[in-house]
């Protein structure tokens, strides 16, 4: 994995280009090559930021210093001073006080660099997913070999010490989960890889499974050895045909190779993996519904407690981890807990894979350290908004939160997001500009929940239906102020009394909407207009 020491952002929008930003970029490339810093410095462009006065603007991490305006002649001096000698070039810093105010968000970002750091995705798109030999050439299997020489308890201690938290959305500490399964009584235990990635807009697990299926087998072997399990399941989303094919072939290859089956590597450790395909139900991503589905029953969540760690698949202790969580295991075993702790933020170490989509110029997948902000995601990886201004982002698919523009400088980690009342979710970032209407967006989400509710418990089954009706009424201009009180009441009811995560989070978009966009909702009701011009409003 490539780790950079510094990161340089150069503004390259229309306004900056008219002031010669392209020449500045070329000069930077030359200067970085001249001082032999290519492997240490990550150079990228961002859209125009700040006022034209200080463009082209150059921002250097981890010191988080802004320089501007920078001309091509000064680049050599800047690179030699800041990047080579390591001192801030005071003479070139942004001096306009008004400008400093506009980029005040930078102050909080000192100390970390938002550069891509591929840990889980390291060999995705590099190795041949059909060849176990190619996997072995790229350090594959070594973490398993290291783990097999350790005591199972030691592996769990390493995972605990690394501070790895579940990447499926809830952020539960992985080490504690493993310990619970290990300590649970019983001889038969299971390890399950949750690859039922059904949150709209998330496709990170698919890319990991398709790109490096062997790493998933390796991680499950380590988990099985550490927890004392001898059987594993991969529950894979029904729509993921290619991933299903690749993982099935990988398991067959691993069996022939001798790392799956009885008495693996003559150590007396038995482990085998089965693949189970989902059938398109959103609820089956919930861990207990997933268990029911594997058992051949209808995908409905169970009462919790007992938790799956003590009473899981067929009543046996079961470890359920997300694909990305498992993807982090081999690198941690190989490099140690300290190495992992050095990435990301203290409360949420490591990296996170995000899928970025919506009204940005560039969509796709990225793996960045925890603690990056939405503003940086949009600027650096989305290459700016397509047309108009950023209005809100939806994190983590439907069950995530709606993040308004005022929260775009909150570090993206589990605790910082919880403190401001939103959740990080599973890693989809749907970026919306101001041509989107929040009411319409929430109506669509409610429709999704109404369709996907399994109908087992009343609050979720009736609540989502009622919420959808009210949201539809507001978008058609039939809303009243009483409706808002009802929505609030419904949301609270669903959150408090629903059986599983689906119902408990179904009200989150309503809460975010009423907290941050109340004026826009009231405009629909009191004025009878949709400010964004999206809703029909009875016309």
């Amino acid at each position: 994995m490539k780790q950079y020491r510094s990161m340089v952002l150069i503004s390259n929008g229309d306004s900056s280009q008219s002031k010669g930003s392209e020449a500045v970029i070329d000069a930077f490339h030359q200067a970085i090559e001249k001082y032999d810093l290519t492997s240490e410095v990550y150079l990228t462009t961002i859209p125009d930021s700040g006022s034209p006065k200080s463009q082209p603007l150059v921002i250097v991490y981890p010191e988080a210093v802004a320089y501007g305006p920078v001309s091509a002649e000064k680049v050599d001096f800047l690179v030699s001073e800041h990047l080579y000698k390591g001192r801030v070039a005071e003479s070139l810093k942004v001096s306009d006080p008004f400008e400093i105010k506009r980029i005040s968000w930078l102050v909080q970002r000192t100390g970390t660099i938002p550069a891509e750091n591929r840990i889980v995705l390291e060999y995705v798109g590099v190795i041949d997913p059909t060849s176990i030999n190619d996997f072995l050439t790229h350090d594959g299997g070594q973490a398993f070999a290291t783990a097999m020489e350790m005591e199972p308890q030691r592996i769990i201690d390493i995972i605990k010490k690394s501070g790895l938290r579940g990447r499926g959305g809830a952020g539960f500490p992985t080490g504690i989960k493993w310990q619970a399964v290990r300590d649970a009584p019983g001889n038969k235990k299971y390890v399950i890889c949750n690859a039922d990635e059904s949150e709209p807009g998330t496709f990170k697990d698919r890319v990991i499974l398709e790109g490096n299926p062997f790493s998933m087998i390796e991680a499950m072997l380590i988990a099985g050895y550490a927890c004392g399990a001898d059987e594993g399941y991969i529950y894979i989303r029904g729509e993921y045909h290619d991933a299903l094919e690749k993982i099935t072939n990988a398991i067959i290859a691993a069996r022939e190779f001798g790392v799956l089956g009885k008495n693996i590597l003559n150590t007396g450790f038995d482990f085998d993996i089965h693949v189970h395909s989902g059938a398109g139900a959103y609820i089956c991503g919930e861990e207990t519904a997933l268990l029911e589905s594997i058992e051949g029953k209808r995908g409905e969540p169970r009462q919790k407690p007992p938790y799956p760690t003590t009473y899981g698949l067929w009543g046996k202790p079961t470890l359920i981890n997300n694909v990305e969580t498992l993807g982090n295991i081999p690198p941690i075993i190989q490099n140690g807990a300290e190495w992992f702790r050095a990435q990301g933020t203290p409360s949420s170490p490591g990296t996170k894979v995000y899928t970025i989509l919506g009204n940005v110029n560039k969509t796709g997948l990225m793996e960045v350290p925890m603690g990056i902000t939405l503003r940086e995601v949009i600027g650096i990886y989305g290459k700016g908004m397509k047309s108009s201004a950023f209005k809100f982002a939806q994190t983590g698919g439907s069950s995530g939160s709606i993040i308004p523009a005022i929260l775009q400088d909150t570090p993206m980690d589990f605790d910082s997001y919880r403190n401001v009342g939103v959740s990080l979710g599973s890693g989809a970032l749907l970026i919306c500009d101001d041509s989107n209407c929040i009411v319409d967006c929430v109506r669509v989400l409610m429709r999704f929940f109404q369709v996907e509710s399994c109908g087992k418990c009343v609050p979720c089954r009736i609540g989502t239906e009622q919420a959808l009706e009210i949201m539809t009424a507001i978008t058609q201009g039939r809303g009243t102020m009483d409706h808002l009180a009802q929505l609030e009441w419904l949301r609270k009811g669903m959150e408090d009394f629903s059986n599983c995560g689906l119902g408990q989070t179904a009200g989150t978009p309503i809460k975010n909407m009423l907290d941050h966009f109340r004026a826009e909702v009231e405009a629909h009701i009191k004025l009878g207009v949709c400010p964004a011009g999206v809703c029909e409003m009875g016309g």
Partner: protein
């Protein structure tokens, strides 16, 4: 494929596999890698792969290793094709349709000229 029986075997195999890879890299063979995840296939990577295969067969090109890989996660850039000529840096091309694939094979793989128009820029 060999079956392994001990932890030492697993460690030894990696070294062997790396040696084979080094030999392959030094043997003067051209490597072509096509991104074949769901995104790549949806964007037409199968046609691209077929075109490259047909080109290799029609022109009887020796010493070419053609293999597939997963997606890099650059939606909108697929199909991605990576070409590594012997003793040269890897070159990545984006949005490679069959026409561009034929051009890459002719100009880059056969004649050795990098096609700057279709380079993958991140």
């Amino acid at each position: 494929m060999p079956t392994i029986n001990s932890i030492e075997d697993l460690k030894r195999l990696r070294e062997e596999a790396q040696k084979i890879k080094e030999m392959r890299d030094q043997a003067g063979k051209t490597q072509i890698v096509v991104g074949m995840g769901t995104i790549g296939i949806a964007a037409g990577a199968r046609e691209t792969l077929k075109t490259i295969l047909t080109f290799i067969e029609e022109n009887h090109l020796p010493d070419i290793i053609l293999r597939q890989t997963g997606n890099l996660g650059l939606s909108g850039m697929d199909p991605v094709v990576k070409v590594t000529l012997p003793d040269q840096e890897e070159v990545s091309y984006c949005k490679v349709n069959p026409d561009i694939a034929r051009k890459i094979m002719q100009d880059h793989v056969v004649d050795g000229n990098v096609l700057t128009d279709y380079l993958l820029k991140v």
